[in-house]
Symmetry: C2
Subunit: 347 residues, 2 copies
């Protein structure tokens, strides 16, 4: 079977995903009977590629690395992503543009366009799931296509798929986690004696934090993630603006020292809890002790505790992730979507 | 759709599973279109029940609680479990007899008999998976039925289902975990000042440890679990006798104090690692520091770290489990089996 992809957004994750497709090409053919072809790649600043037949991914990656643009390749074009989605013959759209936490755009429009032309959609962008989940889910169902988003929270660590595929019949009662790597890394560095500015610059130098770190430091990234989780796993139908949000910006070195003197650490904890008919979402710095499952979740690691009715509490921890893990989220969603197509189911 | 069950072994887990079936009866009908009927329950010492139509589970549980036996109920019989498996009309056999770590019997024979008459099989007994996995898996495949065993390790926490259903394309490179609750609880109590004997009696009083605690204290339970994990997730084809095994029996209060003085705890760690073409399995007490993901896994909690090629390292922690969680393992395996039957797949 041939599976034809359009990749919209081609930064680190997109490029790593393309390398994974090359690396696993033989395995996909042999074990899954799957011949994955990429027909289009759209970017905001590096031009786009569009073809009727499979792009040569190795060549495209090499050209991009050498020249910083797709210009010069025969499949180069300067169509907008929306035009590419509407004009390419892909079966599946992989949405990897960057987060806009206020509007979720342009990702939401890309996803709507792809669903409307009958494509299955996989995204690693948390905006659409945090801001428009119910609408996109219903739209996908109405078109009989699939919408998957494992990479939006904790990279490729299975969270959505874990609940959907391994906890049948369980109701999620509450969620609690360390979801923003930058904040966790910065507080950890401050505990070693650095100032917040120094810690942020260190995170930027390692490629953990963006040039504008405010999305992380002010708690917006964690807010978007806990909203995405609550929308999908607890039917919350909320947006990041509904989160009681306090980032780590106001955490001082003295606070960290005071906590340490009491044998505690400060962690940025995101929570979702049922409160009557409502779901209450919070993101705020909290102290945790050595008996907490979050105690050892340091550096860029992250963790999520899931409270359920039938299965009690379970926690999943991702240790020291890299871009590979986010690319794997897309890869696994692609495979699970193909499985669903073959089984004739919608998720 | 009617799903007819035979339950072989009816201790705490079996009874809790029966209560879960009663509790979720409406949900099963409404959400899954599934009418679950129990046609047979076999026990070693309490007699058995066998019927052509659905047993009244509430009545059976009540009678058992009141009189300690099934004798007196109209469906009472004294056939052996094997005869019951061969004579009942069930679609699925739920195997819940107790572990024999040397032979895996009588569970292995029960499972073979059920597979041979075309039943799907769900078990929470780790013996068959630790001692005869390849044979049982192949037998199930040859009969086009399913064999599931999520409850054998870490109760209902998804481990086997996690790897199978949410990590497609990932190769498991290594496993490391705290898998035996009794050992973990006993060492924790010793750290509070109790002797090992006192700690074991405390575990027995709480229903954590068996009357004969040697399976736990000598590392056999952990050995059976790491073997089951390695057989399924790493194609090890080994038995618990192949494990380099050292339980917590030789751990003294002084060892725990010495570790504490260095800021460490002692934990019984089970590991599976690739070593050339072989899989090496070990169970032994090890010291862990506060930076370890196992540091906060105290009391009866357990944890497993899974190292993979594409998704890096992830750890799943089960906090303070109860019988409900093991019953849920059986419940979830039952549902996933029904899903597989409907999709026409074998797992």
């Amino acid at each position: 079977v041939i599976l034809r992809l359009a990749i919209i957004g081609f930064g680190n994750v997109g490029q790593e995903f393309a390398r994974m497709l090359l690396l696993k090409r033989e395995w996909l053919l042999r074990s899954k009977g799957l011949d994955v072809e990429v027909l289009a790649i759209a970017t905001k600043t590096k031009g786009s590629l569009l073809s009727r037949t499979a792009l040569d991914l190795e060549k495209a990656l090499g050209h991009l690395k050498a020249s910083g643009t797709f210009e010069g390749l025969p499949e180069y074009c300067d169509l907008t992503p929306l035009k590419i989605i509407n004009h390419c013959d892909a079966d599946m759209m992989i949405e990897l543009t960057t987060l806009n936490v206020e509007t979720g755009q342009p990702a939401i429009d890309h996803i709507k366009a792809a669903l409307d032309v009958g494509m299955d959609v996989v995204t690693a962008n948390k905006g659409p799931v945090a801001l428009a989940f119910d609408e996109l889910r219903d739209r996908a169902r109405a078109r009989s296509v699939r919408f998957r988003f494992e990479g939006t929270v904790m990279d490729g660590t299975p969270i959505f798929n874990l609940v959907e595929r391994t906890l049948p019949g369980c109701r999620v009662i509450g969620l609690e986690g360390i979801l923003n790597s930058t904040s966790n890394f910065v507080i950890g560095e401050m505990a070693k004696g650095l100032s917040m500015d120094e810690a942020i610059r260190g995170a930027q130098a390692r490629g953990i934090a963006e040039e504008d770190p405010s999305l992380d430091i002010d708690g917006w990234d964690a807010a978007a993630k806990i909203t995405a989780l609550a929308n999908v796993l607890m039917d919350a139908n909320l947006t990041p603006r509904d989160v009681e949000r306090e980032g780590v910006r106001a955490v001082g070195s003295q606070d960290i020292k005071d906590a340490a003197e009491k044998g505690k650490k400060i962690k940025l904890i995101a929570m979702a809890a049922r409160s009557g008919d409502r779901i209450r979402l919070t993101v705020k710095p909290q102290t945790v002790g050595p008996d907490s499952v979050f105690w050892s979740v340091d550096g860029t690691s992250s963790a999520l505790r899931i409270q359920t009715d039938l299965m009690g509490d379970l926690t999943i921890v991702e240790s020291g992730p890299a871009t590979t893990q986010t690319a794997y989220a897309v890869f696994s969603d692609m495979l699970l979507t193909v499985e669903a197509i073959r089984a004739g189911t919608l998720c």
